[in-house]
Amino acid sequence: MANLTLVQAINLALIQEMERDERVLILGEDVGLNGGVFRVTEGLHKRFGDKRVVDTPLAESGIIGTSIGLAMAGLRPIPEIQFEGFLGPAYDQICSHAARMRTRTRGAMTVPLTIRIPVGGGIHAPELHSDSPETVYIHQPGIKVIMPSSPYDAKGLLISAIRDPDPVMFFEPKRIYRAFREEVPEDEYTLPLGKARVVCEGNEMTIVSWGSSVVQCMQAIERGGRSIELIDLRTLYPFDMDAVEASVKKTGRCVIVHEAPKTCGFGAEIAARIMERCFLYLESPVQRVTGFDTIMPYYKLELDYMPDADRIARAIEETAAY
């Protein structure tokens, strides 16, 4: 066991998978000598060399498009997109190709690809460095989407993603890259994709969240007074609706928390599913505490945009009082 930050846990997972499997390579902007702008690939270039840790031209469609070719040829590329705000130029290659190649070719061609992307706000970064676009890719069939909220989960889920035979988007909440440490086994291990984690148990209300918002939820819960079950989805597609259903059938009330804008955010899907599956158990409408339907403001106001413990606590109280 080692006491690691999220960055360190991901770095360790990358090293172990590269040691284990010659087919794994890393590519992207500044991933080489520089070790990535967040230092997630620190030391990898030195250890594995130019061939397996590749600085590419500044072109996100190129990074993903060539990764698709690499993957179809049987390698296991791990491209990095430097910030979620720069996924845009790669959207087409992800959604028109990575997501479709298996079904388009009825399985003759597959795309075992893991795209790593720092995501979310809260670090006082410039514009387009603080967004939460996960919903777009959850909506796109053919991709798996992961967003861990802890070092332990990050390592196990990333290893599973790399070994997964299909394209996976691995969002890394940059706000908690170094926010805390956790005991992480030094050996390699995998965590199943599509399984949620019950962070804490309770029977008065369920909270569903993912990514760095999970930390905000914990803070709200720690204010005390209520027995709350917190579910960290971890994998956003396929998502663990069974865990949510079981919890809400027990508690009868639910609050969903995410950073992305409200309208058509993933929270809407969870809420709609809860209604479909738990209609007769619900004692109050499912509430969503989310980013607003605005552009994430520049950083002077970013904390007003992001759901925080105050807003979550308020939603809990309101939901309980309904």
Partner: protein
Amino acid sequence: MPIKSAFTTTIDHVSILDVNANFDEKLGAGLIPDGDLVRLYEHMCVCRHLDEVAFKLQRSGRMGTFPQNMGQEAASMGAAYALDKTDWLVPCYRENAGLFWRGLPMEMILLHWMGDERGNAIPRELYCMPLAIPIGTQLLHATGLAWAAKYRGEKRLACTFFGDGATSEGDFHEAMNFAANLDIPVIFFCQNNFWAISVPGKIQCSAPTIAQRAVAYGMDTIQCDGNDIFSVVYCVRKAAALAREKGRPFFIEAVTYRLGDHTTADDARRYRDQAEVDAWKTRDPILRIRKFLTTRGLWDDAKEAALAERAQRDVAAAVERAESIPPPDRNDFFNNMYATIPPDLALQRDTMQTHGIGQDPSQIEGAVIELPAKTSH
């Protein structure tokens, strides 16, 4: 010296068997053995016949939109001929000739345009990618495939095909740039047929040549008569040698012409002059090669008649195979989304419903709902 030259370059144009069927012995001799040339000619004619048949299938409602390859057969076939059987072919949708030469069964192309994904389930050993619908995107896949070969120390290269229109897309640029700067052995093969649906070539590239696109990347580049299979073979051999020996990419502009409509959904008379089309008909790659073969005593009317008959037979058989395949299973489009179908998707498949109640009818009080079975179509 306040003004000095920072860069100079020049680009070659290659033509071996010209429009008048004049043959340049110096470059052309020995390039393609007689027997191969005859086989290439035969394949081109079969491919041309498929175009005609496909057109009729579409008009009679037996197939969806189909893009004819007519007039461009020499380009992709010459390339496929000049490459190794294990080099990747990464096509757009106007390379039937080359794909058939490689060994792709004709019915797979038909199936694709009949709206059936099984037309894309190409056996791995053919090293062909399926047709690419979104313009320009496949160039990056080719670059990745070739990169993988380099990564593994294989001598395999990738050759990707695209039109003049594709050279306007951002992905074209990114693929060229990746290949040039990271030393990836890809051949970028542009079929410049002067039109992108109704948009004339000058709107895609107002420079004197498309070949000079490659200058931007410091990439070797050449222009050739794409209706002359000898020129094509000459250029692709040159490109392949560079790719295999130096691991470097190469750009080829093959000048050709789309003799038919863009697709069966198009009517080219709306936007281009018949005179232009007529002029290009005299440069038809099939006519040219036939004349050459005839002059050399390698071809005659009897052989032509026999070939016509064989083409009809082969294409009819391919159509028969494409049409007699059982309808696809509805489950197919669920089962091929992931290696292992997620439980929620399996539920959608098994119930053919997305609505919560339909997926779990136990929620409904009272009798099971009876509705007319899904209208068949």
